[in-house]
């Protein structure tokens, strides 16, 4: 194995050690472990939210998109760069308050309690599980490709090693470890991508040099309408490209759960600022590297490998290894959160809610672990036998999740009369429209982006559907009014909310304590009984 491969392996080991170290540190007692969420300030909250949101797509899908479409692809980056600001400011405080009032511990449970129907939970669970696994599968493919380039192993072997690391990390890491390693990963991602960005930028003579070279190849690369003016005048496509990553995050369960586990509502303001700055440094660079790839790597067989190829072409050695470590950071920070979320949904929202209401903690943990393992195996099979492009899979899964859940989550805190029929229509209508639009390639004939089409149908579904069926109960209406008010909890209560609303922490804690992973820890039951 080459020296850069060894550096990469060391990096993975260090990252896993950090995860375990934080788990151990925070597990001196169960209470401390669960209270870990309470200590997450704005910097870590912003980083964990952004690294979870920014997946392997940013290193593979984004440059490939820019390679294909030219500057048009930057429409996606523009929306993405403001996504966290919109997400935090629209949902942040209200959703946190509402979830506390309703006593919801997972994003899907939240929907059931707000819209008062188990059918919402069933439909929500099915949609989220299917597309979260699609989303995580894209991360696996990205991990396999990155590791294959770096180590020289076959794609299949790289995939298995990469996924094994992610699964071990997910099961052993825990919420606090995930959050703190996300912080480290976020820094590595920025340093890695900005570092190569600066070097490549000067290599092609800055923006002027880049644009001059692109113009010489094909002037339409510089157009806002895409190469060959493919989307000329199609504002429906442009608007959809901006909206998918600007407001779409509000429909992703593994991102939305971050609102529910913040230190306090006061964390929002700092997180908005930090994530906004981080976004401007990070998000545009992969797209620009894709454009640089048009000039420096015009014959590349797989455009998703532009960044890795650029790393080896321009900067072989240690720097390339660090950059590829950044790619793995992006993949791991997203994959662990999704797997954990999917495991929580399957065990809590499906198994415990509908199959075995009296399931013991041990059973729940087993189900959760089996679900995560099953997700990993399905991911390996799909990634080996039917590997779609990371770009296509992420846009599809992201868009469908966004179309299914964005309108219900926003309506839950902004539309008082929103009821379960509206929620079901919005979820099913939005997701189905996105699937049909994408699979039948209706965007070319209609000029409407699949996400925009799904969003419009979802909004209509919510408005029309909410006119039928029973109205929200007096309790839910009261909760709605309370969530609109400024803080009504005491400071002390507000600070303590995090421990209740960190389902991932709770899940892992149960697993660790039940398995006596850490000696000398209180059991979860004892913790609950002492609290009560």
């Amino acid at each position: 194995m080459s020296i850069d491969g060894i550096i990469f392996i060391i990096y993975l080991s260090v990252l896993l050690s950090i995860g375990l170290w934080f788990s151990r540190k925070s597990s001196a007692s169960t209470e401390q472990y669960l209270l870990g969420g309470r200590s997450l300030g704005p910097a870590v909250t912003a980083m964990t939210m952004q690294t979870t949101a920014m997946s392997g797509f940013m290193f593979m899908g984004a440059p490939a998109m820019a390679f294909k479409y030219g500057w048009y692809a930057v429409w996606y980056a523009i929306g993405d760069a403001g996504g966290s600001i919109i997400n935090l400011s629209v949902l942040g405080k209200r959703m946190r308050r509402m979830s506390e009032i309703l006593g919801a511990l997972s994003p899907i449970e939240y929907l059931e309690k707000r819209f008062e129907s188990p059918s919402v939970r069933v439909v929500g669970s099915i949609i989220s599980i299917v597309f979260l696994f699609g989303y995580v599968c894209a991360q696996f493919i990205a991990a396999g490709k990155a590791m294959s380039t770096l180590t020289g192993f076959t794609y299949e072997l790289s995939l298995i090693i990469g996924i094994s690391v992610i699964i071990i990390y997910t099961v052993a890491g825990g919420y606090l470890a995930v959050a703190y390693t996300s912080f480290v990963q976020g820094l590595i991602m920025v340093v890695g991508v900005v570092g190569i960005g600066i070097l490549a930028y000067f290599h092609v003579g800055g923006l002027t040099g880049l644009n001059g070279a692109l113009k010489a190849i094909d002037p339409t690369y510089l157009s806002i309408w895409g190469k060959g003016l493919a989307y000329y005048g199609q504002w429906g496509m442009v608007l959809g490209a901006i909206l998918i990553y600007s407001i779409g995050y509000m429909g992703l369960p593994h991102v939305v759960v971050r609102h529910m586990s913040m230190k306090s509502t006061k964390t929002v303001k700092g997180a908005v600022m930090i994530s906004a700055l981080w976004n401007q440094f990070f998000i545009f660079v992969p797209y620009i590297l894709g454009l640089i790839g048009i000039i420096l790597l015009p014959t590349i067989a797989d455009p998703e490998m532009i960044i890795t190829e650029l790393a080896y072409t321009l900067f072989p050695g240690i720097f390339a290894a660090l950059l590829l470590s950044a790619i793995m950071s992006a993949v791991m920070s997203t994959a662990d959160s999704i797997l954990m979320q999917a495991g929580s949904i399957l065990s809590r929202d499906v198994y415990q809610r509908f199959i075995n209401k009296n399931a013991s903690q041990k059973t729940m943990i087993l189900v959760s672990r089996l679900c995560i393992l099953m997700g990993g195996i399905v991911g390996v099979v799909v990634a080996i036998y039917e590997p779609p492009s990371v770009f296509a899979l992420v846009v599809f899964a992201f868009g469908t999740l966004g179309n299914a859940f964005l309108v219900p989550y926003v309506s839950s805190v902004y539309y008082k009369n929103a009821n379960y029929i509206g929620c079901l229509c919005a979820m099913i209508g939005g997701a189905t429209t996105n699937i049909i639009w994408t699979s039948m390639a209706l965007e070319t004939s209609t000029g409407l982006h699949p996400f925009l089409a799904g969003l419009l149908v979802s909004i209509l579904g919510m408005i029309i559907g909410s006119r039928f069926g029973r109205k929200p109960s007096a309790e839910v209406q009261e909760a709605f009014e309370q969530s609109r008010q400024k803080r009504f909890f005491s400071k002390e209560f507000d600070r303590n909310i995090a421990r209740e609303l960190a389902p991932e922490a709770s899940n892992v804690s149960k697993f660790l304590t039940n398995d006596n992973y850490f000696t000398g820890v209180d059991t979860y039951e004892r913790y609950v009984s002492t609290r009560n």
Binding site: I85, K269, Q280, R487
Partner: protein, 48 residues
């Protein structure tokens, strides 16, 4: 203008500045709300 066509320049380049500007405005708005909430809570505690 960095070799951009005018249309591309004016549609793309301002966005990072717009987002940071918006985040700054929101930061101070949320900060004011937090301070107001603290003040209300203090007054409430004093009245008890």
């Amino acid at each position: 203008m960095f070799g951009f066509p005018a249309e591309t320049f004016f549609w793309f380049v301002p966005w990072p500045f717009i987002w940071v500007g918006l985040a700054t405005v929101l930061y101070f708005k949320l900060k004011r709300e937090d301070e107001l909430e603290d003040k209300m809570e203090e007054e409430k505690n004093q009245n008890k």
